[in-house]
């Protein structure tokens, strides 16, 4: 590792020692957790560590991939909370506006994100999960607004969001992908109702959004009318690229959570446990290397169809194995329910992490859909005939 990277690592580590929240896992209510998230995000923005993947010109932006990895690893090593609340804002909104938005939208929304405005994503619906093109929420153009009616599902932390990346159907003609339009919606607009969903582990990380004659100005459309599918790909590819790199490196930086647990459980001398740890750590390193290669290929234009699916499935399987080892090493104590916190892999609550790992094999295009993409588009295996009739 170069001297410059070592210096960065030292600087991040020193800053985190004085600033990383310590007791965030003890948050008794969701509101307390959210308040903590907002404060932590503000601190990271000020320090220049919140948006290392944004271009130069933004505070802390313009970092190389190598620098980003160092920051993610150190955040995890310091056991700092993941930026769950601002995740969609800093990755998905940024990628979408950067690739497909206009100057006015970028000028208005990007600085607001750094000031704390939070976003959620309104893609999935009750009838359109992994089959995203099947969405039915209608956007009807009336004068200078779209009037939106329908329901969105599995929207992460929508109950705390100010704005929403919204995919709606503006036409039913042609291919299902053709009639979609991408909007930026104000969550405070009349007609928006949010209902948190109680998940398997007791959290309310996801929510439903009900839309009843919600008006979205034409100026809040990203791309042309009917071009929503292409814009949505920009959002989703951000998820499968940079965000998975962050998560991979956070998992690697969080190995200490697992080794601490092994020590505490008195299993540090157990050859069977050590072997599983050895195996898992190779799997974690492989996932990081895969994310590295994926990003390298994307930057150099060498990305192939299916690459993103490989990264996603590899990450979600590794996350499952990681949390599973924690559950098994922790034994009975992990079966005692602890206060719930949000997050994927460093809640320190192994059963919650394990249950949460299923969110990664289901959300953002299920593991099965990714396998179809790999088989049909990458390995060119033939599709099944469309002979089924309801």
């Amino acid at each position: 590792m170069s001297a410059a990277l070592e210096t960065l690592r030292e600087n991040v580590r020193t800053w985190l020692a004085g600033n990383a929240p310590k007791d965030w896992r003890e948050a008794a209510t969701h509101e307390a957790f959210v308040t903590g998230q907002r404060q932590w995000f503000g601190k990271l923005v000020a320090a220049g560590y919140a948006i290392p993947h944004w271009p130069a010109g933004w505070q802390g932006g313009g970092r190389s991939l190598a620098e980003q990895k160092v920051i993610y690893e150190e955040l995890a090593r310091a056991d700092a909370p993941r930026l769950l609340l601002s995740f969609v804002s800093t990755y998905h909104v940024f990628a979408t506006l950067q690739e497909c938005g206009n100057d006015a939208q970028r000028a208005r929304y990007l600085p607001a994100i750094l000031e704390g405005e939070t976003w959620c994503q309104g893609f999935s619906e009750p009838g359109a999960g992994s089959d995203l093109a099947a969405i039915k929420t209608r956007g009807e153009r009336r004068g200078d607004v779209y009037v939106v009616n329908g329901q969105k599902l599995w929207s992460t932390m929508a109950q705390y969001a100010d704005k929403c990346l919204l995919l709606v159907r503006t036409s039913s003609e042609g291919a299902k992908q053709a009639g979609l339009t991408y909007l930026l919606m104000d969550m405070k607009a009349p007609g928006v109702t949010v209902r948190p969903i109680h998940q398997i582990q007791g959290d309310e990380e996801f929510a439903e959004i009900f839309l009843d004659n919600v008006e979205v100005p034409l100026a809040e459309r990203v791309g042309e009318e009917g071009a929503g599918w292409a814009v949505a790909q920009a959002t989703l590819s951000s998820e499968r690229g940079l965000t998975l790199m962050e998560l991979g490196y956070r998992m690697r930086g969080s190995m200490g959570l697992l080794t601490d647990l092994i020590r505490k459980s008195g299993k540090a001398g157990d050859a069977g446990v050590l072997r599983e740890l050895g195996r898992l750590s190779a799997q974690v390193d492989a996932t990081c290397a895969l994310a590295d290669r994926f990003l390298h290929n994307r930057i150099t234009g060498a990305e192939q169809v299916g690459d993103a699916s490989i990264v996603k499935n590899s990450y979600s399987r590794t996350l499952r194995a990681w949390a599973d080892l924690g559950v098994r090493v922790g034994g009975l104590l992990e079966q005692y329910r602890k206060p719930i916190t949000f997050g994927d892999l460093n809640t320190g609550n192994w059963m919650a992490d394990f249950m949460n790992s299923y969110a990664w094999t289901i959300a953002g295009g299920s593991e099965e859909v990714q396998r179809n993409i790999i088989a049909e588009r990458m390995l060119e295996m033939p599709r099944e005939p469309k002979s089924w009739v309801a």
Binding site: M255, L274, L277, R279, L290, S314, M381, P385
Partner: protein, 322 residues
């Protein structure tokens, strides 16, 4: 992968094509010497090509892909040992293709050196024992052929006449360092060989599934089989990313051992599933499936098995984190 690396890979692919498992071993060996691969990692000052461990991995990846037989890994270990210790006469002979060999088992203190490829036709064997590394002429050793399941490799048990026979090329601290670097080289070679083999086995299987028809459609159309193949592709891609990552760095023995385990296990998983996905034909000797499977199983066992390396990797993680 840089331009040089791509060229190296392409020239290997051109030389060995799809499979050399059934070709003639002497012809393959001559090709390898002609292309200068035995001098690949030797510094230019010593007459070599001065290429690094990434190039080394690329060659072994392609050798595995084409199931090239012969003692290439052992030869390269011997070349490395001779180059590191300035044994120029023997080094020149080995770089020119003079067959020499080394054990592909983990070094032990036993009298018998196990898993030595092509010991019956090699001139010398590398022996690591009693704190020293020696080069022992094979005509003074007792050699016992050990028929193996993997027909692409010929393995022998070798017993040197005495513990002190041969030319000592390193002892003490230097021997320990050399032993580690040889082990690192062997583990990287086995990792690359495995993923090359896995790639070829998987490609062969995908082609077969597209051709073979059952229930009025190609097998490749069944989602159950697609998902299975996609999982194999994911396993291979993840292991390959780890391979190039570690080949480009300077990993510890623990990390190289865990790489070897990760890659050989991926090869084994893929080779086993390829037999199942080929159905009955996969269980015959007429079809190459079994060659990949047997090479995978041998690679799992060579250079220390998963039990050995995973425990060492786990200890290393415990020591360096938390």
């Amino acid at each position: 992968m840089s331009m040089d690396r791509t060229e190296l890979r392409d020239s290997a692919r051109k030389a060995f094509g799809a499979s050399s498992a059934t070709g003639d071993a002497a012809g393959n060996w001559a090709k390898l010497s002609e292309m200068g691969w035995f001098m690949m990692t030797v510094p230019e000052a010593q007459g070599g090509l001065g290429l690094g461990s990434e190039a080394h991995a690329i060659i072994h990846y392609e050798l595995g892909r084409a199931l090239v037989p012969g003692p290439v890994i052992a030869q390269m270990m011997l070349v490395e040992a001779l180059a590191a210790t300035g044994q120029s006469d023997l080094l020149d002979r080995a770089m020119a293709g003079g067959k020499m060999t080394a054990s592909l088992a983990l070094p032990t203190e036993d009298d018998v050196i196990e898993a030595v490829p092509d010991a019956d036709v090699a001139s010398h064997v590398l022996v690591t024992r009693q704190g020293a590394i020696r080069v022992v002429p094979l005509d003074r050793c007792t050699i016992a052929a050990q028929p193996t399941w993997d027909e692409t490799r010929r393995l022998f048990d070798v017993r040197p006449p005495s513990a002190s026979d041969g030319v000592v090329i390193a002892h003490g601290q230097a021997a320990e360092q050399l032993r580690t670097s040889l082990l690192l080289q062997m583990l990287l070679a086995l990792s690359a060989d495995s993923l090359g083999g896995a790639e070829a086995a998987l490609a062969m299987t995908v082609d077969y599934l597209k051709t073979r028809r059952q229930f009025d459609r190609p097998l490749a159309m069944f989602q159950a089989l697609k998902h299975r193949v996609a999982d194999l592709k994911i396993a291979h891609s993840a292991a390959e990313a780890l391979l190039w990552d570690r080949a480009a760095g300077r990993p510890s023995l623990a990390l190289m051992g865990s790489l070897k385990t990760h890659c050989t296990e991926a090869f084994r998983l893929i080779a086993e599933d390829c037999i199942q996905l080929h159905g009955g034909i996969g269980l015959t000797q007429e079809h190459p499936c079994h060659l990949f499977f047997k090479r995978a199983m041998l690679n799992c066992a060579l250079g220390g098995d998963a039990f050995h390396w995973e425990e060492i990797a786990g200890r290393a993680v415990m020591e360096t984190t938390g």
